[in-house]
Amino acid sequence: MSTDTIDDTDRTPTGGFAAEPVSKVGDRVFSGLSRGAGIIILVTLAGVAMFLVWNAMPALTASSKEIGPGGDEGNGKGFLSYVGTLAFGTVWAALLALLIAVPFGVAIALYISHYAPKRLSRTLGYVIDLLAAIPSVVYGLWGIFVLAPTMADHVYPWFSDHLGFVPMFSGKVLASGRSMATVALVLAVMILPIITAISREVFLQTPRLNEEAALALGATRWEMIRIAVLPYGKSGVISGAMLGLGRALGETMAVALILAPANVYSLKLFTSQNPNTIAANIALQFPESTGLEVNTLIATGLVLFAITLFVNLMSRRAARGNIF
């Protein structure tokens, strides 16, 4: 049949489309289900926030003399003073972990995506994902019994002796090794999988076209990664780092087990004077707390909630490439 003799007399006025609507039951059911799921999330979040605010109120409104659960630390100086060192410790530990984990995570991701032979890269990917499956209490025990003593015996003293002029490395090394440095290392290992996994995914998605453009200009493999892969993957790396940061901020068990805490602001990594984190502090203090002490702990939880929410919002923006 040639194209100029198409017979269109049998076409309906609707142009061939059925006049009555197609049944959309499946559509309605599914959209109802997914909308319901979305609403439940919002309700849960609002419920948690309300619980925190409601129970934190007594502590937030109490006179400063009354604040200070679990002994004399922070006693009588008010809630802000109490939560200050904890919030500092939380952010400080998480940032240190990030500082260690991001370079490693990006390097491992690049190795998997662009250097390793196919079979090895797959195995390595599984192993990294496996790290994410280890319970944090196991990391905590490993930190106490293996990492802390080893580092305290062999590594921290070296830094203290040779780089002691750097404030972070100064001070007397805690013999047990249960210091901020060990916590940061353990947290770094814990957030490594998520950073690696997300970085690896974005690096693998680098358009072949851009990689070939770089190679055709005479780029070595590293130069190709620098001018084509890293700029492309930057926002993914940032959002992976933010997710890792979120996990590090909220990590409870490992920190509670490892850290020998004190109620101080301190940047020193190896000493016995380590600011605690909010989550670990709640876990440690809660069993012995009553009345206003419980309210105070919940109020610190509210602060952690706010910090984590802020980090998550930033990670969303980073993922869209709106910052940096």
Binding site: A213, A216, L217, G218
Partner: protein, 279 residues
């Protein structure tokens, strides 16, 4: 196809003089593989300096693969290998001491789809290749390189007021000319173009074709094209590749001046292809 035909039409005697002073490319016994599959078989070819050579042929005949073997881009694909020699100025690009990275710095390439670096500005895109050779470039020198390359690629007038804008914001045709500017900013000896106009509209195509006619005064250009008219318009010499069937390697059927190839080819397959009676 017989070897006599190749001998007759592709291997012309060359004087020692132009072998030394010009960037003539001499291909001998080239076999190109993807893993164990031989994609291109037994190509002998001479590519004239400072002229445009067109590679034509049906899809899958290996002409793009052949083009990519001329600057060692073929081997960036896993398990892709090449046998045979490609000589330029008497140096075998596949010689044991030759670094493929250095080869690619001397032999530029423009791809089928425009591929400027999306995160770089127009100016940075042009300088990208230059920066690989030279970490620090003085501002004056950089400005000069950018302007020259953009002028040579006929893009300067359109972008001179927004050199810091992202390269990805240009139209397809402009992006392709930006890619050409990026390739010629490093002053390569040879420019390889892999269907550079296939993703472009006719006006952008015209702009690129005119550009090729200018660029051939400075550079040796090899272009792969599916567009017969384009081959006829821009090239001085044309090579026809063909494939006997799926799973068989592509071969060079014949090569001659573009006039002869289109008006009076010696091979029936060439005749069929250029007149559109193919397949």
């Amino acid at each position: 196809m017989t070897n006599e035909n190749i001998a007759e039409h592709t291997v012309e005697p060359m004087s020692a003089a132009d072998a030394n002073t010009e960037h003539r490319i001499t291909v001998r016994g080239l076999n190109i593989f993807y893993g164990k599959f031989r994609a291109v078989a037994d190509v002998d070819m001479d590519i004239e300096p400072q002229s445009v050579t067109a590679l034509i042929g049906p899809s899958g005949c290996g002409k793009s693969t052949f083009l990519r073997s001329l600057n060692r881009m073929h081997e960036v694909i896993d398990n892709a290998t090449v046998e045979g020699t490609v000589q330029i100025n008497g140096v075998d690009l596949y010689g044991p001491k030759i670094d493929p990275v250095q080869v690619r710095r001397k032999i530029g390439m423009v791809f089928q789809r425009p591929n400027p670096f999306p995160t770089m500005s127009i100016a940075e895109n042009v300088l990208a290749g230059k920066r690989l050779n030279q970490r620090r470039i003085k501002k004056d020198e950089a400005d000069q390189v950018i302007e020259q390359a953009l002028r040579d690629s006929n893009l300067w007038e359109e972008v001179k007021d927004r050199l810091d804008a992202p390269g990805g914001g240009l139209s397809g045709g402009q992006q392709q000319r930006l890619c050409i500017a990026r390739a010629i900013a490093v002053e390569p000896e040879v420019l390889l173009m892999d269907e550079p106009c296939s993703a472009l509209d006719p006006i952008s195509t015209l702009a690129i074709e005119q550009l090729m006619l200018q660029l051939r005064r400075k550079y040796t250009i090899v272009i792969v094209t599916h567009n017969m008219q384009q081959a006829a318009r821009v090239s001085e010499r044309t090579a026809f590749f063909n494939i006997e069937g799926t799973g068989k390697p592509g071969r060079l059927i014949e090569m001659d001046t573009t006039e002869v190839m289109f008006a009076n080819p010696t091979q029936q397959a060439t005749q069929d292809y250029v007149t559109g009676r193919f397949g």
